[in-house]
């Protein structure tokens, strides 16, 4: 019956226009590397993961998408994963170096789907081990945050060990490098507050005014009217551009629901950030588990 219905609707569509795939699924647009559509991850976990995955992308161009869905819409986790991969095109186009970490909490199924390019590195057997050792034991306890974080960390460790070490290093104690370091930190904090203020102000002219004032002040210090005017104009324009970019960036992140706090967004510049997936493909490699 269902088959006949499909044939019929295909014939019907054929009369009027484009043929659509027989069992089209509707996928939401990606919001970042982490897409918690089922709302099972804490915001802290999401921020940390987003940051790590942006870092990985910057270091190696490998794209890992973490996705939780409320429903698999009646299909298998394997089928859903490969179609979502087709739709989002995770990974870079020529390298197919994407990974999809798909969690369906209601169906109690999880899958790691591997792009063509990473199949030799992240083999099906390794995916199975990661799920068995790090993910499933935590999911069975209901700890989605821990299971997901450890699973992703294990994947990163296999696909790009250097990033994995970098992430582990960040978690350690920061080294004390003396006075210059403190000055630098104060400078960064001051700058971050300033840029945070400028970004949030939505308007993009305060940066220009602040730049101009700084120019005048520095001119006064150097006791020269010419330098004062030149510095005011130069720094004013720089400030305008700076504020313009910041405000735009802030607005974009806000729209996409990305973190806008200083640490959460890595200052909005470092760490690359998410700018859509790159056109990668997968062909059903990876492993799935239920719990």
């Amino acid at each position: 019956m269902a088959k006949r219905l499909v044939v019929f609707s295909l014939a019907f569509l054929g009369l009027f226009g484009q043929v659509v795939p027989a069992f089209a699924l509707d996928f939401p647009e990606p919001e970042g590397f982490v897409n918690d559509f089922a709302n099972i991850l804490s915001s802290g976990t999401k921020q940390t993961l987003e940051q790590q995955l942006a870092q990985l992308e910057e270091d190696s161009s490998i794209e890992i998408a973490v996705v939780t869905v409320e429903s698999l819409e009646g299909t298998t986790v394997e089928d859903y994963a490969v179609r979502l991969f087709e739709d989002w095109k995770i990974g870079k186009e020529s390298e197919d170096n994407g990974v999809l970490f798909l969690i369906a909490p209601n169906e109690r199924e999880v899958r790691i789907e591997v792009g063509y390019g990473l199949e030799p590195v992240l083999t099906d057997g390794k995916c199975g081990r990661i799920l068995d050792n790090y993910v499933i034991p935590e999911f069975e306890k209901g700890d989605y945050d821990r299971g997901t974080s450890e699973g992703v960390a294990a994947v990163i460790k296999i696909v790009h060990p250097a990033t994995s070490e970098g992430i582990a290093g960040q978690a350690g104690v920061e080294e004390d490098d003396g006075g210059v370091w403190i000055l630098f930190v104060i400078g960064v904090i001051f700058l971050s507050y300033l840029s945070s203020f400028l970004a949030r102000s939505k308007r993009w002219w305060p940066g220009g005014i602040i730049g101009a004032i700084l120019g005048v002040v520095s001119g006064i210090f150097l006791a020269s009217v010419v330098i004062s005017v030149l510095a005011a104009v130069g720094l004013g324009i720089l400030g305008l551009i700076f504020d313009f970019i910041l405000s735009k960036n802030y607005k974009e992140r806000k729209q996409r629901g990305l973190p806008t706090s200083w640490w959460g967004s890595c200052g909005g510049f470092s760490g690359g950030g998410f700018s859509g997936f790159g056109g990668g493909r997968s062909g059903g490699g990876g492993a799935s588990r239920g719990w």
Binding site: V19, T123, R129, G283, G284, G286, A287
Partner: protein, 187 residues
């Protein structure tokens, strides 16, 4: 005289446009046909991967149960037939037989928890499950391309143009009878 030239010019334009669009359509069909062939190669790559993997799995589990020698015989036989297959149909048939035998082996392994939990066997089972899934994915894409192509040559103007150049309908990949049904195993 002037109107005759105009009519001739218009006719000429129509003919040129017609020829150009037929050429475009022809090229489109060639591309779609090539897509199908390319996708078939993908399916065969995955078949080959499966055949390469099987000796490992068989060697890992063969000694563990003596009473299940028949399934190993079936697998070896299907494998020999696949490598000897000359036509696509023979390949598909041998692959289907192998699929049945592998499904039986997987059910057998499921029934032996101590074997199932062996790390080497688990890894191989994942590889095998991944290969089966890859085959399913590439087959689906193959069928998508065939459907795309068949739809094009069946709709107007395809139904008029395709026969002129000898384009005919392509066959879908049908799952071999019974291969999607997991067999029951008795002890």
């Amino acid at each position: 005289m002037k109107s005759l030239a105009l009519i001739l010019g218009a006719l000429g334009l129509v003919v040129v446009l017609g020829v150009v669009s037929i050429i475009g359509f022809y090229n489109g069909l060639v591309t779609k046909s090539q897509n199908i062939d390319g996708q078939w190669a993908q399916v065969e790559t995955q078949y080959q991967r499966r055949f390469d993997l099987i000796p490992n799995l068989v060697n890992a589990v063969k000694g563990l149960f003596e009473q299940e020698q028949k399934v190993f015989g079936d697998i070896a036989e299907a494998r020999t037939r696949y490598s000897g297959a000359a036509t696509v149909d023979e390949k598909v048939a041998a692959a289907g037989e192998l699929e049945g035998a592998l499904a039986r082996l997987l059910v057998i392994i499921e029934n032996y928890p101590e074997i199932k939990s062996d790390a080497a066997v688990m890894g191989l089972m994942d590889e095998l499950a991944g290969t089966e899934n890859r085959i399913a994915v590439e087959r689906r894409r193959f069928n998508d391309w065939v459907r795309d192509y068949n739809t094009t040559i069946k709709r107007i103007p395809g139904s008029l143009i395709a026969p002129m150049f000898g384009f005919s309908e392509r066959a879908y990949f049908e799952a071999v009878e019974g291969s999607e049904v997991a067999p029951t195993v008795e002890f």
